[in-house]
Amino acid sequence: MIPIARNSALRAVRSQFHPSRTFNQPTPSALARLLSTLAVLEQRDGKLQSSSLSAIAAAQKLGGSVTAFVAGSGVKGTAAAEAAKIKGLDKVVAVDSDAYEKGLPENYAPLLVENIKRGEFSHVIAGHSAFGKGLLPRVAALLDVQQISDITAIEGEDTFVRPIYAGNAILTVQSSDPIKVITVRGTAFQDVETEGGSAEIVEGVDPKSPAQTEWVSEELAKSERPDLATASRVVSGGRGLKSKEEFDRVMVPLADALGAAIGASRAAVDSGFADNSLQVGQTGKNVAPQLYLCAGISGAIQHLAGMKDSKVIAAINKDADAPIFQVADVGLVGDLFEKVPELTEKLKSQA
């Protein structure tokens, strides 16, 4: 068995470099001992973003040691310290530098590559957020490996499950690359204990690659509501709402009554009823809340791709033949302009 011989040789070499490793890692199998994963954390103004937690959750599911990586302005005192408290992390590699604050892939990718090489990681994982999507393929190309995007399950150290064709097919794929570069779907990897850990924060290497792009400005939709991607309840509106005014008049009170995040179909976004960042679907966000309540949405494939993993789906639509009713656990045929306000009132009076 040549692979085993090679593995054990590698382990022998590694344990010379890191003599402490074998002691502080009581892992069940020899295989798991070889796994060492770098979870790439996303931070904004020093705060960890939810994609960071899903990267860690997936890394922990793989088994083996988990190291977290974070870079940005003064992150050692903020995001890295926050990460160090997460249970189950070996250590947190941090690079304090304003150059990485905006997470621009042009200089962040070489930074990550240097730290991956130094840490001899077998797996590199980030959330499939705008940050992860922009950065990780660039990292994979620099490492000459084929990335695996948006995975929803882990079947083994080299075998992963991911949806293709807008979630209409599920692909199980095995990678032969020496380093597995992976992005993970946030709704599929949760449950991270954010307290109780005490990982050491160590200094990362900083190759100081030049930034080729300049960050000019940003415009983010402000919202007091729960984050759409991670909310436990989502109410979502479609083309049936007719206008932005009606969308706000009908959907916002319902969201308030339920303490839910607001989503929208692509049709509603394209017609200007709702902001693009609220779009649920293949080309928008994937959500998997406890309750997904939608009104005026027909249920096109592209929309279903983004919400069909919801625990309970409820739909209000005036067209009794709308495809949404084929997936909805509970459907109500009727005019949403009557039914939604009535529902809102009844929910309020019960609360």
């Binding site: 973003q49 621009l104 042009e106 705008a130 999507k133 922009g134 393929p137 994979a140 190309a141 620099l142 490996v145 084929q146 990335q147 995007s149 948006d150 949806p163 293709i164 064709y165 979630g167 209409n168 097919a169 599920i170 692909l171 199980t172 794929v173 095995q174 990678s175 080729q212 792009t213 960050w215 000019v216 400005s217 415009e219 983010l220 939709a221 692509r266 394209d270 902001d275 960042s277 293949q282 080309t283 406890q290 309750l291 494939i301 592209q302 069909k308 625990k311 309970v312 409820a314 084929q326 997936v327 509970v330 459907g331 109500l332 045929v333 009727g334 009535e342 529902l343 009844k346 929910l347």
Partner: protein
Amino acid sequence: MSGLRILVPVKRVIDYAIKPRINKTQTGVETAGVKHSLNPFDELSIEEAVRLRERKGPLKVENILALSAGGAKCADTLRTAMAMGADRAFHVEVADSNDGGLEPLTVAKMLQAVVKQENINLVLLGKQAIDGDQGQTGQMLAGLLGWPQATQASKVEIKDEQGTVEVTHEVDGGVETLRAKLPLVITTDLRLNEPRYASLPNIMKAKKKPLEKKKLADFGVEDQRRLKTIKVTEPPARQGGGKVEDVDGLIGKLKELGAL
């Protein structure tokens, strides 16, 4: 900067409105006899290239090269691209397969060679192909070339003759604006533009535009697979739970299901 030499890679995929069927051996999706079209995000990138020419900005568009890798029918896809306004096309012949075709890393390496051979300074790609849903090729290409990248663009502006480009792109929760210098890789998102229909006269004209057949070897690339398909299966089916008569019924059912 003399002008823009644009490369627009396009992919032929199963039409977005068609629900794909898994084949019996669970190795892929049925592609025979299924309607295919130009990947919707690639339509946006052709449209943007053509608009850059029409806008007459500070940099003139010298040439728009469309490229596709795949079976014989990719030639139709490339004719569509030329009917929309691309000047010429490369068809890289790769045997048809039902697993989504070449891996993104292979495509990126091929495009890297094309960029060098054809002296390209702007590559416009779709943000993802709707078959594999990987969303990697543009970023990989930018990494291999060492060029700046702007992904999921919703607005592209050429600012000056020195090739400064401002790109507004979609991020989680809003948009962000970046500034970079050519050469540059941009991937397109849905809000960027509304692609035009190819008019009949333009479809006829496109038949006369040059379409060169190429091989992967012309670009020093092999169809190497790093990922092996173990199986392709149907997603777990959701069972519709039926309908209720009124709002009280809805609330009752939601309570029963534990959602309220």
